[in-house]
């Protein structure tokens, strides 16, 4: 009996997945629940366990290919139920003809060859062109894209290094383009005096880290104040869907985490119901697991608003791109000590710029301003919690 392995649905919003690597090859034995392959959806790598025990008979989707959810990936010839022992050995399984799969990589279709000749492209040129066909095949469209790029002078020259996008970069690229094309972004910036929080943090950080086993950074304060400001401004805790807006009941705050390979945004669920220490612990846990690549697809979904802490890179201001389908994203600049006029005096305060990019289809500057004012008031009027 053959068992079919299909691209799984990893969370509601995911429509496709990329095969990163087969851990078992055709002809290899696999046990039930043993890791069969790794896939990538929404930028997260997940190991897929085998749905049954048997021999991997056919692999349809090769490493690096992206297919819709539900697409057959492989078949496994299930182990026959135990058969009574007899003197004769079981017949050898029929030898499956190897799937014609290596055909594609070092093989050019007639259309590709004819076009290459017509355009005077040498085999060495063809090797440089980005391939998008199945099994890494060079398609006619790839050559046309290359030619178009060459005409605009963007083709790599000798000595340049050409690095194809990884699945993660592709996902980021696709999302960024889609977000910019979908939502007209506008960015509003407000200056926040973080002195009270900075002083509290300086005073408490050692004790806090000991008691809660997580560092006391600026982030939990910002998330707490953001969640509170979102409560009063539901249009920023919303999803834009076509010609309607869905005001989300839950406040789930995405936290942008930069990795060498790209950006991942784990989501702190129901942030408005959490105490400062809980926010610190949970966000620390999410960020750590992103870095260790142990985050699950469910944990990067359902975000209703996103914060992006720019301070670690020393950035003062930025105009962040919205995570679709959310309506706002907050970029927080570095907290720096600056001379500030207070009353009639110039004093040194710990200041930061809070940059809100919002979807101008859904809200206008007034709502953005109102949200930023509330956020500012929450942070500047910080009352130390009784710990």
């Amino acid at each position: 009996m053959a068992i079919e392995v299909v691209m799984p649905q990893m969370g509601q919003s995911v429509a496709e997945g990329t095969v990163i690597q087969w851990l078992k090859q055709e002809g290899e034995r696999v046990e039930k629940d043993e890791a069969l392959l790794t896939i990538n959806t929404d930028k997260i790598d997940v190991e897929i366990p085998s749905p049954g025990a048997g021999t991997v008979s056919r692999i349809f989707v090769r490493d690096g290919e992206t297919v819709p959810v539900g697409t057959p990936l492989a078949t496994i010839d299930a182990v026959e139920p135990e058969r009574p022992l007899t003197g004769t050995p079981a017949p050898a399984p029929p030898v499956e003809a190897a799937r014609v799969s290596e055909e594609t990589t070092h093989w050019y279709s007639p259309a590709v060859l004819a076009l290459a000749e017509q355009q005077g492209l040498k085999p060495s040129d063809l090797k440089k062109i980005r391939k998008t066909g199945r099994g890494d095949r060079l398609t006619k469209q790839d050559i046309l894209a290359y030619l178009e790029q060459r005409e605009t002078g963007a083709a790599p020259r000798a000595g340049d290094e050409v690095i194809p996008f990884t699945p993660m970069r592709r996902a980021i690229a696709e999302h960024m383009v889609r977000s910019k094309q979908t939502a007209p972004h506008a960015t509003a910036i407000i200056e926040v005096d973080m002195t009270a929080i900075a002083e509290f943090r300086e005073r408490e950080k050692v004790a806090f880290a000991e008691r809660w086993s997580s560092p006391l950074t600026f982030l939990p304060f910002i998330i707490q104040a953001t969640a509170s400001a979102l409560k009063g401004n539901p249009w920023l805790n919303a999803w834009a869907q076509g010609d309607r807006t869905v005001l989300k009941r839950e406040i789930n705050i995405g936290i942008a985490v930069a990795l060498a390979e790209g950006l991942i945004v784990p989501v702190l669920k129901r942030a408005d119901g959490l105490r400062l220490a809980e926010i610190a612990q949970q966000s620390d846990d999410l960020v750590r697991r992103v870095r260790e690549k142990r985050i699950t697809p469910m944990e990067v979904q359902e975000g209703t608003f996103t914060v992006n802490n720019l301070g670690a890179s020393g950035i003062l201001l930025a105009t962040p791109i919205i995570v679709q389908p959310q309506t706002g994203i907050l970029g927080i600049g570095a907290v720096t000590r600056r001379p500030i006029v207070v009353g009639d005096d110039v004093t040194i305060r710990s200041m930061a710029y809070f940059c809100l990019s919002f979807d101008h289809r859904v809200i206008d500057g007034t709502v953005a301003g109102q949200f930023l004012q509330e956020l500012k008031a929450g942070l500047e009027g910080f009352n130390p919690p009784r710990t």
């Binding site: 290919e65 297919v67 007639p110 259309a111 066909g133 199945r134 398609t139």
Partner: protein, 324 residues
């Protein structure tokens, strides 16, 4: 122009041709008093009389032979097969007499055999077949298979006026499922010319008959994913419009051929052969076919659904080709 069904368009073509040309007359089983199994010739007996609307015995070979004789003495007979499936009873008359007479003796045989064909009506193995390939394979015949009311009327009138024997394949599912704007006055469409039912740049989808609707539906779905499919409706299967086929293949580099008849030795095989020979250097993917399996048409509705190509199956093949 008026909106009408495929069935009404065929009926109008027959009526108009009979009205304006005394040489045109009808033969078939139950076409007179009963008005035909599908009621296409209802009212014809009253209007044109029993000399021109002839109820025949259940003897296909006999009445096709009679039609050939009439054509040879200057008449324009239009024969109705009650179901295309029964056309095999007249096979010898069609492929040995009608198809070869002009070649042997220099006398044309201007006649039309209307063949209500195709499945999707849960009518079982004797009332659902697609016999077109048998006749394409017999030199001397023309084979026509329209997909829309507009094409059905224009092509039937052209078939009746043509000097060759024409097998006119009218799809039974389309009789009442295809509607469209049709001129209420006289017009003919040329035999042997395909029609691009939808322009596209990425994949050429070559088909005809009831599969055109399904192809257009699948092409709409693909368009939402950014894949533009060109739907080529052959309209005439013999002579085949190879120019239109090759132009579409050269434009796109990928081909899907769809028909409802079994895949083995179907018209798709011929089209694939022409493409391989004439457009090899333009191909960017294997020429792909989607057709019925090599079995009789099943009676059971779920089995028939499984058997016949449809929009969902076409879309799956298109996705596969797009990603190749």
């Amino acid at each position: 122009m008026a909106e009408m069904t495929y069935l009404e368009a065929i009926r109008q073509a027959l009526w108009e041709e009979m009205d304006q040309d005394d040489r045109v007359f009808l033969l078939g089983e139950d076409i007179g008093t009963y008005g035909g199994a599908f009621k296409i010739t209802q009212g014809f007996l009253d209007k044109f009389g029993e000399d021109r609307v002839i109820d025949t015995p259940l003897a296909e070979s006999g009445f096709v032979g009679a039609a050939i004789g009439a054509a040879l003495v200057g008449m324009r007979p239009v024969v109705e097969m009650q179901f295309a499936d029964f056309i095999s009873c007249a096979f010898d008359q069609i492929v040995n007499m009608a198809a070869k007479h002009h070649y042997r003796l220099g006398e044309p045989v201007p006649m039309v055999i209307r063949a209500p064909y195709g499945g999707r009506l849960h009518a079982g193995p004797f009332h659902s077949q697609c016999p077109e390939a048998w006749f394409i394979h017999s030199p001397g015949l023309k084979v026509v298979a329209p997909a829309t009311p507009y094409d059905a009327k224009g092509l039937l009138k052209a078939s009746i006026r043509d000097l060759n024997p024409v097998i006119y394949c009218e799809h039974k599912y389309l009789y009442r499922h295809a509607k469209g704007e049709v001129p209420i006055d006289d017009y003919v469409l040329p035999l042997g010319e395909a029609d691009i039912k939808r322009e596209g740049t990425d994949i050429a989808l070559i088909t005809y008959g009831a599969m055109v609707q399904q192809a257009l539906e699948a092409a709409d779905e693909m368009s939402q994913q950014g894949i533009e499919v060109e739907v080529v409706d052959l309209r005439t299967l013999c002579p085949l419009d190879t120019d239109a086929i090759l132009a579409s293949v050269k434009k796109t580099g990928k081909v899907l051929i769809v028909h409802e008849a079994p895949q083995v030795c179907g018209i798709g095989a011929e089209i694939a052969g022409v493409i391989a020979q004439e457009a090899f250097h333009y191909l960017d993917a294997p020429v792909t076919r989607l057709a019925a399996p090599h079995t009789p048409v099943p009676f059971s509705p779920p089995l028939e659904d499984f058997y016949l190509p449809n929009a969902t199956k076409i879309a799956a093949k298109l996705k596969d080709l797009a990603s190749y």
